[in-house]
Subunit: 253 residues, 2 copies
């Protein structure tokens, strides 16, 4: 069974930035890139982990072409013969989105989970995760929205923060738009339902992070940026979190 590692993350040197995903459009992209420059600072190169998508080369090229590299050199980890050594030498790591099951499966297969955790927690390696890259930064990837297309060894993940994040969060039922532009309600579980189900099985806080929002650790604080969020705790009403709010209280259990 997956465990919830006790990561306190209180060392001020630890740099973690966790984005929800949904950074489409210039405005959202530019806001993300500006925060990335602040987060990673004056380094040249970012080690990019494209494992959540099928084609690593294509992913890296698209990220650069669309300007999501924030002027850093983006180097794909899939091109290294020794990915563990690549992490050991990196100055910054960016774990991209896609399918979280495939991502954690490949991180586990390549024995990267522990080395990433150790270097980030030691304050040596600033971490950026977006979407699936944020899911695997949690103690487990149990609050992903992705389809289980491959079976990982374990749902246990990197555990850079001691709480769970549900990326691409939205409230209420979803609606489907037909070819005439009419909207139809869908009856599948809402995110609220799914997170309640998680809390029927596990007792770890879950932060529902709206698209285009992110958490960033600066000056010993863990601050919510760009979009609001909802904090879910077992058997409690969800708590609204505003942009700029300090979530450091979540770093101590």
């Amino acid at each position: 069974m997956a465990s919830f590692a006790n990561v306190t993350g209180l060392d001020p040197d630890i740099k973690v930035m966790l984005g929800s995903g949904g950074f489409s459009g210039e405005k959202r992209r530019d806001a993300l890139c500006e925060a990335m420059r602040q987060h990673f600072g004056d380094i040249q190169q970012l080690l990019f982990v494209p494992y959540a998508l099928h084609d690593g080369d294509d992913y890296v090229q698209k990220m650069i072409k669309a300007g999501y590299n924030a002027d850093y050199d983006l180097v794909g980890i899939h091109n290294f013969d020794d990915p563990v050594a690549a992490v050991a030498q990196a100055q910054g790591i960016y774990v991209g989105g896609g399918n979280s099951f495939r991502l954690i499966h490949r991180l586990q297969q390549n024995r990267l989970v522990d080395v990433i955790r150790h270097r980030v927690v030691a304050g040596e390696l600033p971490y950026l995760g977006v979407s699936a890259g944020t899911n695997v930064a949690c103690p487990t990837m149990m609050t992903t929205n992705d389809m289980p297309i491959v079976q990982p060894l374990s749902f246990d993940s990197i555990g850079l923060v001691p709480f769970q994040i549900n990326t691409h969060y939205y409230p209420g039922q979803i609606h489907i738009r037909d070819e005439n532009g009419d909207y139809h309600q869908h009856f599948g579980e809402t995110r609220l339902d799914r997170i309640r189900e998680f809390h029927e099985c596990q007792d770890v806080p879950v932060l529902g992070l709206w698209e285009a929002g992110w958490l960033m650790r600066t000056d010993e604080k863990l601050v919510l940026h760009h979009c609001p969020a909802l904090l879910f705790r077992k058997d409690q009403q969800p708590q609204e979190i505003k942009v700029g709010e300090d979530l450091s209280f979540l770093l101590t259990k």
Copy 2:
């Protein structure tokens, strides 16, 4: 790793009915119940598997109160000391919806996967699955939409049909309705994206089943009822399946 069991299911005595979910409202409920009467025939009692939801008693009571039992006596398997014996003695089994990870986890913990498969494939036990109950009737539960709130022993499932089903299927992007009634596009993966990701890792057909649709095996045919569907194969364009179409070709590999 999960395997894709070679279940041909060609024995005419095998009775399998697999619903998508989304049977809300009297009209959809009544259509489902009429098909259930045809499927299970003149028996008294159905063994209901409520494992996909947290509270089994509550689930059974709600099903009966809302009339989803189609006039059968619904008996919850969670109340039996020996659930394997309950399956061995049942005349019909109905596996309900909820969370597919929790459902398969409990089926595995209670050693029910094999006994259900054997009795259904032997033509002794008509099977009805809805939503999660349909996911676990596939070779694996890898095409579920649910959140991985518990880690099952394996993604391998009952395997009553040799293809995968994606329940609650819908096309295109989803939209969120705000408090003013305005709709906003969501940027998460579409079902098309997710099923393509599945086919990047696995080579098994996936039937995208719209809400309120079901498959039913009658007269040696496997027929789609009530709603259209889309059939996805690796590296091929999706194929539209119409109501009334015979999908028996999917039963031979």
